[in-house]
Symmetry: C2
Subunit: 403 residues, 2 copies
């Protein structure tokens, strides 16, 4: 097999951990696999360099930041290659450029445009372990770029796609994807397999193991992704396409997002386009709207409720205030003490009664549901934040996820 | 004017010093010049990375060391560019590769083969200050290389040559080249100008401001080199071709080298090729010979005296021992308590009596001269180490270098 293994900052946080990574890579190689390793900067290094830059400028050039920050991954890559060679395995480190990772020229947030895998393939054919500096590439005009937050994961997935690797393992400090947050429900079980679509729903709903960009890219490139921990030999969770998952559970997991605020607009004037006006202005203010509910009151005016991330609340208020001043909205109110609980599972597509069971479970616990939104593989409910953990545990048990 | 300015590790040792460098670069730019800056890694960084590598391997691959170590200069280059931009000057950092520095593929000790100055010239034409990561280049097959000890100086000189710069300023913690070591003779004067040839003699004789490789390259490329300090605005010393120096002093400086040991071979058998045998074996053992004196004794056997660097003494002894065992040499003796004092000056070419004055000065101080060697622009004398400082001061005064 050809396996791409990606190790994040904490996995390569010090020299001893880099040696552990080397041991793991060697095990994989010994088992008869070809290995391409993608590494992040040692944890703390990137922050140190950012602090250096901020010493000189509050708004440093993005191109220079890329030149600066890309050095961290190069250091880890060469150190790991040195460790592997010392263990008797032929290894070679490559910068993003050397590995053929070509991006657009949006510095600090570049997108991978294509990968020329020639140098990597040549080294693999020579029996070498290839160690690639993650998070970075080179633009068409020859400048170093970086891929932004979670960039090393993207590097790994894109490389796995370009090399048609059998597996792309993302090593973190978490052992995989769980049916829910184990800090809330100790009975949470690690999932063996999950579909890209479910993972995307779970990630956007709060599971922070993998960024959506990486999962989306894996889905697009048809890369079998595994998340697992670098601190033990425990098996991780395979994220793959739905067809590869034989037993499709009704519900795969329960996600919780406490980072939500509800905005209620009461007495919204009954004139055409008013809702569109409001949400356009919110979009211009770069406020991301999650759920929206509208109902018509008895006086003909509408009530509109919507949720935003807590961080966007200030900007959202500023927009809404203008409509209240102009008289288009009679009254506004805010609630930061809410949360969103979601049930995710591909099995829902072909089963009925999943949502009904969720509502019944909430009712049995006397938890009032403020808002509901559903998709093909997801049911989300907004409830008071104080019930968050109770709701998660009840749902986890109702769908028998602890079994 | 187009000026190349090179700042070494101590000049960019911390963020405050990098800011000082930025200020100096801006002054040069403000005075109407185009500026290309070459920087080293922040002092301590390279040692830190070497220690990291040695944690994993006593003999790390040289290619990986280059990948590892080249990151230090990139960090400094981007930080300086950020500082310059913040001051309102358009600046761009470049890796060795980006600056077009192509080397052979002898990792960790690469030689610059050619420089493609297109990217630098384009940026200069756009009014930008170019900041180049020193010490590094790229081999024809696309791998990062480093230039070895003193590599950033070499980068600067080579870039100055490729860009046909008017001046290449090397900033260190010393304010220039002195008539002799001011710690020995406080009356030592800073030289305004000195020829490449004199500098080469002074450097190999102990003045450690510039490595000979850099001076040789400057001579070859006809680059006007200035060494000066980054810690004050004091003018430095211009190192240039002899024709550019109008007033040619008889003697420019007195150099002292205490790192010398003398090996005396007595009763060397009178057979053809014996001396050649001995020195061939020493060369094979990589012992560098400095001065050699041979005289024939009354019994027909020869006495041979030669000097080596103290560090080579152990290896030299091992070679000589073999000849003593075989009976080709009757007796060997060693003296580490010697030093070499040298008088250097292009003026000697056209003047007589320079050497005679040196010998007379030594005689007046009752200092015995063990060995003498001369070249067109140099007289070197080996004397007992205890007289080193006295000899330097006497000669400095005899040639009126304090005037």
């Amino acid at each position: 097999m050809l396996i791409v293994q990606k190790f994040g900052g904490t996995s390569v946080g010090d020299l001893e951990r880099i040696q552990n990574v080397a041991n793991r890579v060697v095990e994989t190689k010994k088992a008869g696999n070809n290995v391409v390793v993608v590494v992040s900067a040692m944890s703390g290094e990137t922050n140190k360099l950012v602090a250096y830059a901020e010493h000189f400028s509050k708004n440093p050039s993005r191109g220079e930041m890329d030149m600066l920050l890309s050095s961290g991954e190069r250091v880890t890559a060469s150190l790991l290659a040195i460790a592997l060679c010392e263990m008797g395995y032929d290894a070679v480190s490559m910068s993003g450029r050397r590995a053929g990772i070509v991006t657009d020229n949006i510095h600090t947030k570049a997108r991978i445009e294509e990968i020329d895998p020639a140098a990597m393939n040549k080294a693999i054919k020579e029996g070498k372990i290839v160690v690639v500096a993650g998070f970075q590439g080179v633009s068409q005009d020859g400048n170093v770029t970086t891929l932004g937050r979670g960039g090393s994961d993207l590097s790994a997935v894109a490389i796995a796609g370009a090399l048609r690797a059998d597996l792309c393992e993302i090593y973190t400090d978490v052992s995989g994807i769980f049916t829910t947050d184990p800090r809330i429900e100790p009975k949470a079980k690690k999932l063996n397999k999950i579909s890209y679509e479910e993972m995307l729903e779970l990630a956007s709903l709060g599971a922070k193991v993998l960024q959506n960009r990486s999962v989306e890219l894996a889905k697009k490139l048809n890369v079998n992704l595994v998340t697992r921990t670098s601190f033990s030999n425990e098996e991780g969770t395979l994220i793959t396409k739905e067809e590869n998952i034989m037993e499709k559970p009704l519900v795969s997991g329960i996600a919780l997002d406490k980072n939500q605020a509800r905005i209620s607009l009461m007495g919204v004037k009954d004139r055409p386009g008013i809702a569109s006006d409001i949400f356009n202005k919110l979009a211009e203010a770069e406020v991301n709207i999650d759920m929206i509910i509208q109902n018509i009151g008895q006086d003909g005016t509408a009530n509109i409720d919507f949720t935003v991330a807590v961080g966007d609340l200030f900007d959202a208020k500023a927009v809404v205030d203008l409509f209240v001043e102009s008289g288009d909205i009679r009254e506004e109110s805010y609630d930061e003490n809410i949360c969103k609980v979601s049930i995710v599972g591909v099995g829902m597509k072909s089963h009925t009664g999943v949502a009904a069971k969720a509502f019944a479970t909430m009712a049995a616990e006397n938890i009032n549901i403020n808002m509901i939104s559903t998709s093909e593989i997801k049911v989300s409910m907004v409830i008071a934040e104080k019930y968050a953990e109770l709701a998660v545990r009840s749902l986890h048990s109702a769908y028998e996820l602890d079994k």
